[in-house]
Structure formats: structure tokens, C-alpha cells
């Protein structure tokens, strides 16, 4: 009798366990904080950022509760495998190497590059013709360096800087006509600062994918295909009903 009870309790527990694992009414995210503006803490200590807000909105859409578990970057994939959390939403770029061990959602954001020039500049478009012979500033070794070098290296002067600060100094000094960097970084260091008046020139750049990658995705364990599918559906819904745009604009301004 006693044995039967134990077995049935165990069975129940197992059943409950597997149901939870399959349906996930509670999703735990692993996240590496801080990485502004994607994930960081406010001065009050509250966790926020683009990933956090979008993740919470996705959970709300799916009708599940969610929880954020902080994990340093180098242990973030092992933590997922050890079931410390069920997903990683921490500005993780999707690539083939990671696909070997992880399952990715659809990309939820690509970090665009953008051209910034002094407000007084008469540049309106950034293309081979308008940039010919000008001095372009980039940060050495970044995605943006590769793009500018490949696209304009033969027609314009690409000046490479170790830090964004050095580049800003030369921009103010009028040594550079235009700089190319991650839009979010340019926004916080150029547009929102009091260093001077700057403007965005032309369109955001996210192509080609070999350089800019496929964007950031939510990572799951390989077998959680159902969960990934639910997140993809929720993401599509949020993009349609405008919630996504609202969060995006709060962090990155008008697209």
C-alpha cells in the first residue's frame, strides 16, 4: 500500500514535471547585465532595457509569467543546458556556430549601422558618389569598419580609431566629414550629447548579412521547439499590433 502510494506520488510528480516542461506557464530567461540599452539596471536597481521589456511583453502575449536570472556571459550557454533557465534573451547574435548547440527564435532586432555627420554638412545621402574623397571615421575592427572598408575603402579615406571618444574628438575638430557606427551608440554619444549638432545621413544600414549578421535571437535548448514556436508567434503578433514598435522607439527612437 505504502509502496503503491510512493509510486503514484512519484508518477504524479513526474507527470507534473513533464507537463510543466512541455507547456511552460513560467519561463525563466538568462540575461547578462549590464549591456545598455539592451539590458541594464536603473539607478533604483530595477532591471530594464530593450530585451527585458520585449521579453516581458512576449510573455504577456503568450500568457505565461516570466522571470529574469542574471548570468555572466561566458557561462550563459552552460546555464541554459543545466536548466538554470529556459531561454537566453541577452543580445545574442544568431550565427551558425551557436546553432550547433542552440535553437534560435526568429531574430527580434538587428543592430543597424548609421551615418552621422555634423548638422551643417550638406550630405543628404551616403553612397559611393556623395562620399567620394571624404574622410570617414569608424571604430577599428567593428562590423562598421568592415562595412565601410568594403563599400567605400577604395573611393574615400577610412580613418580607424581605437575608441569612440577619439573619433568624436576628430569629428568635432572637423577632421572627419562623416562617421559610421552602431545607430544606438551614435544616438547616445552624438545626437543626445551636447558635443555639438549632428544629424543622421541617409538610411540605416543592416545589409549585407555576412557583415551585419542575422540579428539578435532568443536562444533555447534544441529540444524546446514548441516553446521557440510560441515565441515566434508572439513576436509576430507584437510586431503586427504595434507593441514592438512602441518598445523599439522608446530605446532607439524613430526608425
Amino acid at each position: 500500500m505504502k509502496k503503491l502510494l510512493t509510486v503514484s506520488i512519484l508518477g504524479l510528480a513526474l507527470a507534473a514535471g513533464t507537463t510543466q516542461a512541455r507547456d511552460y506557464d513560467h519561463v525563466r530567461f538568462g540575461v547578462d547585465v549590464p549591456y545598455e540599452p539592451m539590458e541594464y539596471r536603473t539607478p533604483e536597481g530595477e532591471l530594464t532595457g530593450f530585451d527585458i521589456e520585449l521579453g516581458n511583453a512576449l510573455c504577456a502575449e503568450m500568457g505565461v509569467t516570466c522571470e529574469w536570472i542574471e548570468q555572466e556571459w561566458d557561462g550563459i550557454v552552460p546555464g541554459l543546458m543545466a536548466r538554470n533557465y529556459d531561454a537566453i534573451m541577452s543580445s545574442m547574435t544568431i550565427n551558425d556556430e551557436r546553432r550547433q548547440s542552440l535553437l534560435f527564435s526568429d531574430p527580434y532586432i538587428t543592430m543597424p549601422g548609421a551615418w552621422f555627420a555634423p548638422a551643417g554638412s550638406d550630405l543628404e545621402e551616403a553612397n559611393e558618389e556623395t562620399l567620394a574623397g571624404l574622410s570617414i571615421g569608424v571604430q577599428r575592427g567593428t562590423t562598421y569598419d568592415s562595412y565601410a572598408t568594403d563599400a567605400f575603402g577604395s573611393t574615400a579615406n577610412v580613418n580607424r580609431y581605437s575608441t569612440a571618444d577619439d573619433m568624436m574628438l576628430d569629428m568635432e575638430a572637423q577632421r572627419l566629414d562623416i562617421v559610421f557606427l552602431e545607430f544606438a551608440v551614435g544616438q547616445s554619444t552624438l545626437l543626445d550629447s551636447d558635443a555639438g549638432d549632428f544629424k543622421v545621413v541617409g538610411e540605416m544600414v543592416t545589409e549585407p548579412a555576412e557583415i551585419f549578421g542575422e540579428g539578435f535571437g532568443i536562444a533555447f535548448r534544441q529540444r524546446d521547439t514548441a516553446l521557440a514556436e510560441r515565441f515566434n508567434e508572439a513576436l509576430a503578433t507584437l510586431k503586427e499590433d504595434g507593441t514592438y514598435d512602441e518598445i523599439y522607439e522608446r530605446y532607439f527612437g524613430e526608425e
Binding site: 577599428r140 575592427g141 569598419d145 580613418n159 580607424r160 574628438l169 575638430a173 572637423q174 577632421r175
Partner: protein, 241 residues
């Protein structure tokens, strides 16, 4: 044509050393050579009168030159480069002057910094050599009734330059190596090319070893040039037979 084929075959399957990156290295060699050669040339021309005046009896001639060499030998070249490159833009209205087209480029601020630096060292090298002129030579010149000017031109300088040659050869090599810092102000010299290749392909060993090999070749060229000069100009000091 055959050469091009041979070259392409040599590079086949190599992900890092493509014709494009080798082009960067080649431009780096050109930039480094121009920078070092021009700064040494101008520095040398400056150093000759400065080293003579450095030994002047008048305090107001001697002291400013001493202060100049002291400052430029007493501070790192990197700091001097930063001050000149980033410092000039804090001069109000510099962008409107005729100097700006030159100062806007990274090349000329770097050239100015390198020139001032090497001129300071060279001045001290020559000054030391002038001071070491054998007393007997000077007395002999005086006995011939030479004026100071003529003595300087005919006796002191020719022997001082010969004495200074080995030390100056070292200065030239140091200058070549010091020029590696030019890449911090965006110049694509040899080191700049190496840093670019490193950042692009995440291949520090290949990128920097190749740069090091180029510097070695240049150093050997300088070394042999000075050895040749010493052989010619210091022939009288070599043991006979």
C-alpha cells in the same frame, strides 16, 4: 603575366594574406618610409645649426635649445604625438587658416611630432660629437689663423659628423621603430595595416609577425647603409692591413 599567376597561386587558399590585405601592407610600407625619411631629413637639417648653437657661449642662445632638447627627449613620443595631433584643434579658428588642409590630415601632425623629436635627439648627438673634438685639432686650426667660422666648417664639423655617425645610425633605426605609434592617430603605416588585418581576421600572430618581418627588412637596409657609410667615412680609423 606569369608573375601575376605565380602570385595568385602563392596566395591561393590563404584567407588572411589576400591581394587586398597585402595592398594595405604595401601602402603601410610607403607611409612609414615617407614619414620616417622626411622627418629624419628635416630633423637633420634642423639639428646641424641647433647643435652648433647649443655649444654657444651666450646663455640666451644656449638655454632655449637645451630646454627644447630636454623637453623632447624627456617625454614619450606618443605623448608628443597626441599633444600635436589633438592639441592643434583647440587653437581657435585653426580650421579657417591656410594650415588646416595640412593639419587636417593625420600625416602632417605626425610628421611634425617625429621631426621635432628626432631633431632634439640628433642635436644632442651632434653636440656631444662637437664637444669631443680633439683639443689638438682646434689648436692647430688656430695656429693656421683660421677664423671660428672657418674652423667650424673645415675642422670641427667634418670630424664631428664622422664621430656621430654610429650614434646617428642608431637614432635612424629608433625612429623607424618609434614610427609604429603613428597608427594611433589613424595613419595606416605598417603597424596600422597589421592592426587592421588583426581586427578583421582575428589573427594577431600572422598580422603582427608579417609586420615585424617588414620592419626587420627595413632595419637591415638602414644597417647596411650606415655600415657602408662608416666604411667610407671612417676608413682612417680602421686598423691598417
Amino acid at each position: 603575366m606569369e608573375l601575376v599567376n605565380w602570385f595568385n597561386e602563392l596566395l591561393a587558399g590563404n584567407l588572411i594574406f589576400t591581394p587586398q590585405t597585402l595592398g594595405y601592407y604595401w601602402n603601410g610600407v610607403v607611409t612609414t618610409t615617407q614619414l620616417v625619411f622626411l622627418s629624419l631629413l628635416v630633423g637633420l637639417v634642423m639639428a646641424v645649426p641647433l647643435s652648433i648653437l647649443r655649444g654657444s657661449k651666450h646663455r640666451w642662445i644656449k638655454l632655449p635649445i637645451y630646454a627644447y632638447t630636454y623637453v623632447f627627449r624627456g617625454t614619450p613620443l606618443l605623448i608628443q604625438l597626441y599633444i600635436i595631433y589633438y592639441g592643434v584643434v583647440f587653437v581657435d579658428g585653426i580650421q579657417q587658416t591656410f594650415l588646416w588642409p595640412l593639419l587636417r590630415e593625420a600625416f602632417y601632425p605626425a610628421l611634425i611630432a617625429f621631426t621635432l623629436n628626432t631633431a632634439a635627439y640628433t642635436t644632442e648627438i651632434f653636440h656631444g660629437a662637437i664637444k669631443a673634438t680633439a683639443r689638438g685639432e682646434i689648436e692647430a686650426a688656430r695656429a693656421y689663423g683660421m677664423s671660428d667660422r672657418m674652423m667650424m666648417r673645415r675642422i670641427i664639423l667634418p670630424s664631428a659628423f664622422r664621430r656621430a655617425l654610429p650614434a646617428y645610425g642608431n637614432e635612424v633605426i629608433f625612429m623607424l621603430h618609434a614610427s609604429a605609434i603613428a597608427s594611433v592617430v589613424t595613419l595606416m603605416d605598417i603597424t596600422g595595416a597589421a592592426r587592421f588585418v588583426y581586427a578583421r581576421y582575428y589573427a594577431p600572430f600572422e598580422a603582427f609577425l608579417f609586420a615585424a618581418a617588414i620592419y626587420l627588412c627595413l632595419t637591415f637596409a638602414i644597417l647596411y647603409f650606415f655600415r657602408f657609410l662608416e666604411r667610407r667615412l671612417l676608413a682612417h680609423l680602421r686598423p691598417q692591413n
